[in-house]
């Protein structure tokens, strides 16, 4: 039963009549919500319902980490990301480091070799110039280490209160290889799911400092450039790599859900195999969070054909960033589009995509 929703404002009186559709559902309404930025279902809906119809073109429709563009005989990858993390500096890094690593990683997840970066800044009036210097230095160091120049950029300043210190956008351009084309829609039943390291570090490191929840944790962000790791993987078993994803906002759970949906497959995880550092697990316990949904900035997920599993893991582990790589699950054909997890009891649970952000809970 449904009907028009007639209530008009939080301090309105009773609903006008029986037969009204229920409370305005979360997600509908005429404003952008924080949840729209969380990487979960609301984000997906926002893009699907508002951006895609207006911007529609085949390159965009793939909705990968970046897009593929043809330039003459070259296939290029282009990816953009905007960084709004607060606080600007956190254990293990700063917004600048995230901005460079994040976009380099998106380019890497497409299988591309990075060529250059551009960067745009929105600075808040009153931002400390010393802090700005530190952030810029982080970016310079990270770009230099990756061998990728920041070739152009832009800076704007807005009034106090309008930018949370600073926002940074980075766009990366890379060269695609003909023989190495991981994509989210290529996972097949029988493939294995590998994660390159322990999960949940970035999200917990930032949350502990940001939310005013007052927790002290010995956790640092894992922010890292994953390009060299991907290169090792490619060299060892390139043709067998089906998909690569860096599980940032929304965590491993969201990234795997996207792959499962895009490929029309099921992903089955082994709960006991998923590596979670003790401190991350403890922080998640205390706050009532699930590590599978916590952001990572230095971890990748690789979906690899079964026959290449051992060489993939070996190649990843040979790298410092991938030293703790491990298989965490496998791809099956049913139930399509769903991610499930086997618990220690032999029971099963679904690992869904969250509607919005994970919230600390008390219950």
């Amino acid at each position: 039963m449904s009907g028009p929703n007639g209530a008009n404002g939080p301090d309105a009186g009773s609903l006008a009549s029986v037969g009204l559709r229920c409370p305005v559902p979360t997600g509908e309404g005429d404003r952008v919500l924080l949840g729209h930025g969380s990487g979960g279902k609301l984000s997906a809906a926002l893009i699907r319902d508002r951006f895609l119809p207006r911007f529609s073109n085949p390159a965009l429709a793939v909705l990968g980490d970046g897009a593929e563009v043809v330039l003459g005989t070259e296939r290029m990858a282009i990816s953009t990301d905007t960084f709004v993390v607060s606080p600007l500096e956190f254990p293990g890094g700063d917004i600048g480091l995230l901005a460079v690593h994040g976009t380099l990683n998106d380019v890497a997840m497409m299988g591309a070799e990075p060529v250059c970066l551009s960067t745009g800044f929105v600075l808040e009036e009153g931002l400390s110039l010393t802090l700005l210097d530190r952030v810029l230095q982080s970016m310079a160091d990270a770009a230099r280490q990756a061998g990728v120049p920041i070739v152009t950029g832009d800076t704007k300043v807005v009034e106090r209160g309008k930018a949370d210190g600073m926002f940074i956008n980075t766009t990366g351009v890379g060269r695609l290889r003909a023989d190495f084309r991981p994509a989210p829609d290529q996972a097949c039943p029988g493939d294995v799911v590998i994660v390159s390291g322990p999960i949940g570090r970035h999200g917990i490191a930032v949350m502990a400092v940001r939310e005013g929840l007052g927790f002290e944790v010995d956790v640092e962000s894992d922010t890292a450039h994953l390009g060299p790791l991907v290169e090792s993987l490619r060299a060892a078993c390139g043709p067998h790599v089906r998909a690569l994803r860096d599980p940032t906002r929304g965590g491993v759970a969201s990234a795997l859900n996207e792959i499962a949906a895009a490929s029309g497959v099921a992903i089955s995880l082994d709960g006991g195999a998923i590596p979670v550092p003790v401190a991350v697990a403890a922080a998640c316990e205390v706050l009532g969070l699930d590590p599978l949904y916590v952001a990572n900035e230095g971890v990748l997920i690789a979906i690899v054909a079964a026959e290449a599993k051992d060489s993939a893991i070996r190649a990843l582990r040979a790298h410092p960033t991938g030293a703790e790589s491990i298989q965490i699950g496998e791809v099956k054909d049913r139930p399509a589009g769903m991610v499930t997890l086997r618990t220690g009891l032999g029971g099963s649970r679904v690992v869904d995509m969250l509607p919005g952000d994970q919230l600390p809970r008390i219950c």
């Binding site: 008009n8 409370p23 919500l33 499930t340 009891l345 679904v350």
Partner: protein, 380 residues
């Protein structure tokens, strides 16, 4: 983590499951009261492994779920006031009121902040003397001591710009209401371990006696829950109806006397509306008169706010254990976590949300196909 990880030992859990199945000569129906226990049961796949020996009916142990629509609307109203900083536990942010939720109020410019502890809200009041800080004091008896202390301290320190919007409920009257209803199927209870850590278990003895139901005070980890179920089934098989304590590492018969003391000085028993269930007399806590200055309902004019519960949401039936979430026609169709019809779907502890997230019995035709992938392997 010490005193936590041990109770997740899969070998122990599995041996308890086998013992439960070996022990039961017939199927038994138990209710776990607490949302956190529901969460563990569904998330850990305990539903799968119990098979036919035990049916778990999920009780109304989600204080978020049972907070009346009217109280949510009051919260939303307060949060929209420009002078107010509205503070709350994370659980409440997505619960829909008549028109919107706290997230949407935030999007419209209201200041809404998540806090971990009520003392953090008090601290906010101290740091912002020109604003009014309101804290949404929701919970069962477990949270009452913390909420009481925030109000107590506000008085001690003379912090006037702090108030609480109270929505506290107590467990025993809810259990009695369930046992009194004509279609009750519950034969035994797992009582909420942290509620009893504060309250002790003496209030449950008359209930066990009068209704002849075993009540086992149980913890929250898989081994705790399974041991609690085992103890309850053992009682049922042996024809006993007693209160037993599985969660002995935290619960004593008298509970926490210091906590109960402060709670009774700050709060008093009142009649309370339980969303989806109706009014249960003397089942809630309200601030005592001497603390009226810190009661948001007295401080702000909220009387005009009334709400009617929507017709389709069967939250009440789910909360009373009358139906499982999957038996509601709206489940997975018109009611999903993105578009929740009622609180049990949006609250992280609600039974509907737990089923959706973990047990995924969904389908496009309402009620849906049962997802029974690996779980069939473990049934005998």
């Amino acid at each position: 983590m010490k005193f936590l990880s041990e109770y997740r030992d899969p070998a122990l859990a599995t041996s308890l499951v086998s013992r439960i199945r070996a022990l039961s000569t017939r199927p038994w129906t138990l209710m776990e009261v607490c949302g956190g226990q529901t969460h563990t049961i569904v998330k850990q796949g305990i539903l799968d492994v119990l098979g036919d020996s035990v049916e778990m009916i999920h009780g109304p142990g989600c204080p978020v779920c049972v907070t009346p629509l009217e109280q949510i609307d009051r919260a939303l109203h307060l949060a929209s006031r420009p002078e107010v900083i509205f503070t709350s536990f994370g659980d409440m942010l997505r619960v829909p009121g008549s028109d919107c939720d706290l997230f949407q109020v935030r999007a419209q410019g209201g200041e809404v902040r998540v806090v971990y502890s009520p003392l953090d809200a008090l601290e906010l009041a101290r740091a912002n003397p020109d604003r009014e800080v309101v804290f949404f004091a929701v919970g069962f008896e477990t949270t009452a001591p913390a909420n009481a202390m925030a109000v107590w301290q506000a008085r001690e320190l003379g912090i006037k710009n702090f108030s609480v919007l109270v929505s506290h409920v107590t467990v025993p009257p809810a259990m009695t209401a369930i046992l009194e209803s004509s279609d009750n199927r519950v034969q035994g209870f797992l009582a909420a371990g942290h509620v009893c850590t504060v309250m002790g278990w003496s209030e449950y003895e008359p209930i066990a006696d009068r209704y002849q139901v075993p009540i086992v005070v149980t913890g929250f980890e898989p081994v705790d829950i399974l041991e609690g179920i085992w103890m309850a089934v053992k009682q049922l098989e042996e024809g006993r109806a007693q209160v037993e304590n599985q969660y002995a590492r935290s619960v004593r018969r008298d509970g926490n006397r210091q906590a109960r003391d402060i709670v009774s000085q700050v709060f008093q028993l009142v009649d309370r509306q339980w969303r989806g269930i109706g009014e249960i007399p003397m089942s809630g806590l309200g601030l005592r008169d001497e603390f009226a200055a810190w009661d948001a309902e007295q401080k702000f004019d909220l009387h005009g706010i009334r709400a009617t519960e929507p017709a389709e949401c069967r939250a009440g039936d789910v909360l009373r254990g009358r139906i499982k979430p999957i038996e509601c026609a709206e489940f997975g169709t018109t009611c999903t976590p993105e578009n929740p019809l009622g609180a049990p779907m949006v609250s992280s502890e609600g039974a509907c949300a737990a089923y959706w997230s973990y047990a995924r019995y969904r389908g496009g035709d309402g009620g849906g196909e049962e997802f029974a992938e690996q779980s069939t392997e473990t049934r005998s």
